[in-house]
């Protein structure tokens, strides 16, 4: 029954002053006062979100010609952004679901914010396909429903339709997963609240949670099954996104490795975005004890793993294209690396494959500045990956008349930059009003994985060994194996 953890593991909650109340105080704190720096950030990103709304309005008013959609390749911009955002939206559910199944306790510190990020990223992603339809008020045509246009149904053979289902399901399930975890934490905020209105609002948000044993039992069962469902779901979403490309017979796209390689890439970019945000959050909200260097290091290991998988997939694709003897495939890959978009390919390779290799070395994994810079690099690289795949195959396609060198219009750029504004605005609102760390989950690992617990165990061992301070004493571990 005693919680036990090997002393070879680093603590996940630092600080010897920690106890349950302190954890609540530290995490709920940011929702009770406005931190310095919140307003300026909110103004900047809010303005960008405004740009987003403006550019979308422009698109709807003037039509999708504003995106320069005259030639096939001109679609590239919004598809790239769509896939980029969806990819980023993979880490949250991955952290909460897959790491839950793998019993990785480090997930407790970062899962809440990562899931929130997932939801916001999927919102941003969804904007691109919805608005590319032009007449957005008819967007409901994409759903299969009995209608007055004769027995006219959607095409169930189309991967784009699969996308509709995949993304709406993913959004719904992520939201449910995220929110079911939030209820107990809202109840914690409610029970600390002083003002009557605040109490009332957080009670509504908490759905009237009290934390009875039966509730927790069902809670655990629910999170487990949702994790079990989300794990294949998160893989399926990016798999289906990859099907959009791979089912078509365009050289460079029709290759069977696309599904797993897109998924690896999505996890890769998602973790990078989590790192970018977490490094800021832990600093601004003084949560360094909960999002420790240990957490960052673990994420960096996942980055080097997925980065290498993506790298192997690039090489495999390249190799098979050469090996296949299929001229057009060979040209597509030659063109990717050395054609007129070589610079995009160079960005992709150096950001995605080369730069994460630094993380083979411990000092880099544990250096916060390097992590921060690299996490942004990875996001740039992953944007270019999609750009490279989409643009190089479409820019010189079957019809010479539609060949074109791709350049985005100002509306394109405004929407992309604006989507980052929307994302950050939502995230800032989340940080201000919601608990950024899963309070209940962090508490549940307190007795096993906190510095306090480790110290207690070490003292107990010492007592049992008659005062002998053995190699298991925590202090030595602290300096040695990090």
């Amino acid at each position: 029954m005693h919680a036990y953890e090997s002393d070879f593991r680093e603590p996940l909650i630092n600080g010897l002053d920690k106890n349950y109340t302190k954890i609540t105080d530290d995490i709920v704190g940011p929702t009770e006062r406005t931190y310095k720096g919140w307003w300026p950030l909110m103004i900047i990103f809010g303005a960008l979100a405004g740009l987003f709304v403006f550019c979308l309005g422009w698109t709807v008013y003037y039509g999708i010609g504003a995106w320069g959609l005259n030639k096939t390749v001109d679609w590239a911009w919004d598809i790239t952004n769509f896939v980029w955002w969806i990819g980023i939206g993979h880490a949250g559910t991955l952290i909460s679901a897959i790491l839950l199944l793998f019993r990785q306790r480090f997930r407790t510190g970062i899962n809440r914010a990562a899931e929130a990020m997932t939801i916001f990223a999927v919102i941003c992603a969804g904007m691109f396909p919805v608005f590319h339809m032009g007449r957005v008020w008819m967007a409901f045509f994409i759903f299969p429903y009995p209608n007055t246009r004769g027995p006219l149904w959607v095409n169930f053979n189309s991967p784009l339709l699969w996308d509709v289902f995949a993304i709406s399901t993913y959004f719904t399930v992520s939201l449910l997963f995220w929110y079911s975890g939030l209820m107990p934490d809202f109840a914690t905020i409610r029970d600390r609240a002083n003002g009557k209105t605040r109490k009332w609002i957080y009670n509504i948000l908490s759905f009237g949670w009290t934390g009875t044993a039966k509730q927790w039992q069902r809670f655990e069962s629910l999170s487990l099954v949702l994790a079990g469902l989300s794990t294949p779901l998160v893989l399926s979403v990016h798999t289906i996104v990859s099907f959009d490309f791979a089912t078509s017979v365009i050289p460079g796209w029709h290759t069977t490795i696309f599904p797993p390689y897109f998924v690896a890439g999505a996890i890769f970019s998602g973790f990078a975005m989590v790192e970018t945000l977490m490094l800021i959050v832990r600093k601004v909200f003084n949560l360094e004890d909960y999002i420790t260097v240990n957490h960052i290091e673990s994420m960096n290991k996942i980055i080097v793993l997925t980065g290498s998988i993506v790298g192997i997939a690039y090489i495999t694709e390249m190799f098979i294209a050469w090996y296949s003897g299929y001229l057009y495939e060979q040209f597509a890959f030659y063109n990717r690396a050395l054609g007129k978009y070589w610079w995009a390919y160079a960005w992709m390779m150096s950001c995605n494959v080369l730069s994460p290799q630094l993380y083979w070395f411990k000092p880099f994994r544990r250096n916060l500045w390097i992590t921060f810079i690299l996490s942004i690099f990875v996001n740039i690289g992953m944007w270019f990956e999609r750009f490279v795949i989409i643009v190089t195959s479409l820019a010189d396609d079957f019809l010479p008349s539609s060949w074109n060198y791709f350049t985005p219009t100002w509306v394109d750029m405004g929407i992309y930059i604006g989507s980052i504004g929307l994302f950050m605005t939502l995230f800032l609102l989340f940080c201000r009003f919601f608990p950024v760390i899963a309070i209940a989950e962090v508490k549940s690992v307190f007795r096993t994985s906190s510095e306090v617990a480790k110290r207690e165990r070490a003292l107990k061992d010492e007592k049992q060994n008659g005062g002998f301070v053995g190699h298991t004493t925590f202090g030595i571990l602290d300096k040695d194996d990090k």
């Binding site: 349950y20 169930f156 289902f165 719904t172």
Partner: protein, 180 residues
């Protein structure tokens, strides 16, 4: 609300291991626990309380199976009966094409169905105002609640002694007013 009792005795603990031992002891003594409140899921709690396994996952399985059937049958009907068209020479019943949507619908039905069941069973919905026995049970206290409606003062005192003996850091009465 009329039948619900308003008088409770509350025992509060501050360490989950002591708390678990206390539960085992109290149940062993045959004292009925009205409610158990903890700030986070305590491992082994439902075993200690003798709860049977939740059947939520079974509900999830059934919802999922419904989703699978629903998706497959509607797509089959549309593509073969209601609106058969030739898409790129593919058969009218292209099973591989159905797999992604079938999978998504399975997951969607299972997840939504389960969450709804969960909320109903746990009495969770926006605006529900629960009885809060002690505010600290969502912070750092583990609580056992006993119904003492109609119990004699001596019995209550004895219960208090048991709770304190089991390491409760605080034992107190909680009496709700009628409209609470």
């Amino acid at each position: 609300m009329a039948t619900q009792s308003n008088n409770y005795l509350l025992g509060l603990w501050d360490h989950e291991e002591v708390f678990l031992h206390a539960i085992e002891h109290i149940r062993h003594d045959g004292i009925e626990i009205y409610e158990t409140l903890t700030p986070f899921p305590v491992h082994g709690l439902e075993t200690a309380l003798g709860y049977r396994d939740t059947r939520l996952h079974t509900a999830g399985f059934l919802f999922g199976a419904t989703g699978t059937t629903f998706a497959l049958s509607i797509m089959s009907w549309v593509m073969t009966t209601n609106y058969p068209l030739n898409f790129g020479g593919k058969p009218n019943w292209p099973l591989p094409s159905f797999i992604p949507i079938t999978f998504e619908m399975t997951v969607l039905f299972a997840a939504v169905g389960m969450v709804l069941t969960y909320c109903v069973r746990n009495k969770l919905f926006p605006g529900y105002i629960p009885r809060i026995f002690d505010k600290r049970t969502t912070d750092d206290r583990f609580a056992l609640v006993f119904d003492i409606e109609g119990k004699s003062e001596a019995d209550v005192e004895q219960l208090k002694a048991v709770l304190s003996g089991q390491g409760a850091v605080e034992v107190k009465k909680r009496i709700f007013s009628e409209n609470e």
